[in-house]
């Protein structure tokens, strides 16, 4: 199976470098060999059939304890990413939105986000935001994203609908302003307005230099994001690399046909 190691954007400012990453989950080897480079400000789309390793890649880069790296390297902003604790990765500027964001009963959303934001700000050498200033920014961002303001005062994701959970992830992304965001099916569960909000937020943050790895199955969103590259994952490897045309081809033929074509 082919593997692709060329940088996604031919730019000296490579933000993320992944080389031959291999990951086990339990007894199963999920990522067999992943290599990719992502430059600052670039946008890469990851596509692939269910179980191909897209979410595993994101959670591994984020440092989830269930995902065991058995080989390979990953550098982020000049640091050995795999040697860092999850919070250190986040403070270095890596944001991973979760496909199914969990609830945290009893912890108010605004307190949670403000605590996270101040931890990241401290790492950047910025002064912490007080509750008043934070709430102003949070309300503004929530309004832009279509997240009801009342959800700021509720426990994190507790009783939120699927779409509200995704909007809440977007709110955190908007406020944290990371260097690299990996969005894992952020559009699933979102309505049309939510999809537009994703595109707008991504464009705004890219203009400020944030790079993105976007996992999505939906061509409309992918085309709206105008990706620099589209990668197809298959059985834990990068099987194809292309541009938006690859996404269109995959949407037309499906993943099974793409796999057969490569193997044939």
């Amino acid at each position: 199976m082919p593997d692709w190691k060329e940088p996604i954007v031919n730019d000296e400012q490579t933000l993320l470098q992944v080389n031959d990453l291999r990951v086990d989950v339990g007894e199963r080897n999920v990522l067999k060999s992943i290599s990719l480079d992502v430059a600052a400000g670039a946008l890469v789309v990851l596509m692939g059939a269910n179980g191909s390793g897209k979410s595993t890649l994101g959670l591994t880069l984020a440092g989830h304890p269930r995902y065991r790296v058995v080989g390979g390297r990953a550098r982020f902003a000049g640091q050995d990413l795999l040697a860092l604790a999850p919070e250190a990765r986040a403070r270095a500027g890596l944001f991973v939105s979760l496909q199914a964001p969990p609830e945290i009963p009893g912890v108010k959303n605004n307190l949670f986000i403000r605590t996270a934001l101040n931890a990241v700000r401290e790492a950047r050498g910025e002064a912490p935001l007080d509750a008043f200033d934070f709430l102003g920014s949070a309300r503004e961002a929530a309004a832009r994203l279509g997240l009801p303001e009342s959800l700021l005062g509720r426990p994190v994701n507790d009783g939120f609908s699927g779409g509200e959970r995704k909007r809440n992830e977007l709110l955190q992304l908007a406020l944290l302003q990371p260097r690299l965001a990996l969005l894992d099916e952020i559009d699933s569960g979102l309505d049309v307005d939510g999809g537009r909000a994703v595109v707008q937020l991504v464009q705004d943050l890219r203009a400020k230099g944030t790079a993105f790895i976007v996992v999505s199955h939906y061509l409309h969103l992918i085309e709206s994001l105008a990706p620099d590259a589209v990668l197809r994952l298959d059985q834990g490897c990068i099987a194809e690399r292309g541009d938006a045309g690859l996404a269109r081809e995959l949407a037309r033929t499906g993943f099974a046909a793409a796999t057969e074509a490569v193997e044939g």
Binding site: A62, P86, I104, P105, G106, I113, L117, A119, P155
Partner: protein, 415 residues
């Protein structure tokens, strides 16, 4: 000899005859209490001497109105149990210690009780009462002596709504030694009365405490108790709630911290009438070599039609190798009732912990936030939302308690 002293001696004699709680006693076998001599002040050693608080030191019960509770709504009587007349007034209408599992504590209390407080809430004449008005009170207790048996009796009159914050504070300035405290609290709620009772008991590491709360509810009365308690040398929190009249209801929610210490909560609810409801919830955080026990027992008597019972006990080990025992019991003697109970014992939710860390919180902060959230959620379920927690500054207190517990747990883990 006056009758007060005779009564105390009779109680001591009864205790000597009946004996202390057996180590095989079902209610206490997981965490047997210290022997009778401890609770009677007869323990050998320096305990009990030189620890008397100055009369003006604020020791004993002090009562503080909260907000704008009008004068005259609360009748408070501080009574000296060493005086025959006052003792009679203090103990009038209270049940005798009886023969139950915890009766030896009650007999020891009778033998040692020196002071007590009786509160009648809603004491204004009927014509002056404002329907729906809530009486807010704060009751603080500081130990008077190193070994003591304080008493608190509260009558909430029919139709009265009351919010009571009861704190047990430990001011170690006058006595560096561990204290022994055998507290008996008797609550009586009249027809349609409500009492929202927030209790805080955070003893010193060497203290030995036993708090017994007995609540009797009239028709349509409601009792909600939220407890925050920490372990110590020995710490028992025991609730005995009697739902004796139709449509009476009780809820208890407890957040218990045991970091290398001993802590037991016993929750007994007796449904004796139709359409009574109760909900018991406890969250225990235990670390190090802690021994933590929650014993919940709810009984539905024959004829208690449409009674509803719920028990939910949770334990989370936060470090070390604590011994954590959760025992939900139901005893049902009527067919048409609703009952649910369960106990869970496990780690903090991994996904929530990861989400917090992925957003930049260090592990300690993330754990603290999640534990605090879980504790807040338990209390809010009992108190119908955050409305009461904020004005009473419970969130700040809980944050301190969680931080203290996790810090102690971490120290234990490093040992």
């Amino acid at each position: 000899m006056d009758s007060a002293r005779a009564d105390a001696l009779a109680a001591r004699s009864h205790l000597a005859t009946q004996g202390w709680i057996s180590r095989q006693c079902e209610s206490f076998r997981h965490l047997p209490p210290p022997v009778a001599e401890v609770w009677l002040g007869d323990e050998a050693g320096p305990q009990g001497r030189g620890c008397e608080a100055h009369p003006l030191a604020g020791a004993g019960w002090t009562l503080h109105p909260v907000g704008s509770t009008p004068q005259g709504r609360v009748d408070a009587r501080w009574l000296d149990a060493g005086d025959a007349v006052q003792r009679a007034e203090l103990l009038v209408d209270l049940p005798a210690p009886g023969q139950g599992d915890a009766a030896p504590f009650a007999w020891a209390h009778r033998a040692l009780c020196r002071h007590g407080l009786r509160l009648r809430i809603g004491g204004a004449p009927g014509a002056q009462r404002i329907p729906g008005e809530t009486v807010w009170l704060q009751l603080r207790h500081q130990p008077r002596t190193a070994v003591e048996a304080p008493l608190l009796v509260i009558d909430v009159q029919a139709g009265v709504q009351c919010v009571l914050v009861e704190t047990h504070e430990r001011e170690p300035l006058h006595c560096q030694r561990g204290i022994v405290q055998n507290l008996q609290v008797h609550l009586r709620l009249g027809v349609g009365a409500t009492l929202t009772h927030l209790r805080l008991a955070m003893p010193g590491a060497g203290d030995r405490l036993a708090h017994h709360v007995h609540a009797r509810l009239g028709r349509g009365a409601r009792y909600d108790q939220a407890l925050i308690a920490a372990g110590s040398g020995y710490h028992l929190q025991r609730n005995v709630i009697a739902l004796e009249a139709e449509r009476s209801a009780a809820r208890t929610a407890s957040v218990l911290f045991a970091a290398g210490s001993a802590l037991e909560q016993q929750l007994q609810v007796a449904h004796a009438a139709a359409r009574t409801t109760s909900a018991v919830e406890a969250l225990v955080l235990a670390s190090g070599a802690a021994r933590a026990v929650v014993n919940a027992h709810s009984r539905i008597a024959p004829g208690a039609e449409d009674a509803a019972v719920r028990q939910r006990l949770s334990g989370i080990p936060t470090g070390g190798q604590p011994r954590l025992v959760l025992r939900p019991h139901l005893e049902i003697h009527h067919d048409r009732v609703q009952a649910a109970h369960g106990a869970t014992w496990g780690a903090l939710p991994e996904d929530a912990l990861f989400l917090a860390r992925q957003r930049g919180l260090d592990e300690r902060t993330a754990r603290g936030l999640i534990v605090e959230g879980m504790a807040t959620a338990v209390l809010q379920r009992c108190l119908d939302g955050p409305g009461l927690l904020q004005p009473l500054a419970v969130d700040a207190l809980l944050a301190r308690a969680v931080a203290g517990h996790l810090a102690a747990a971490q120290e234990t883990g490093h040992e």
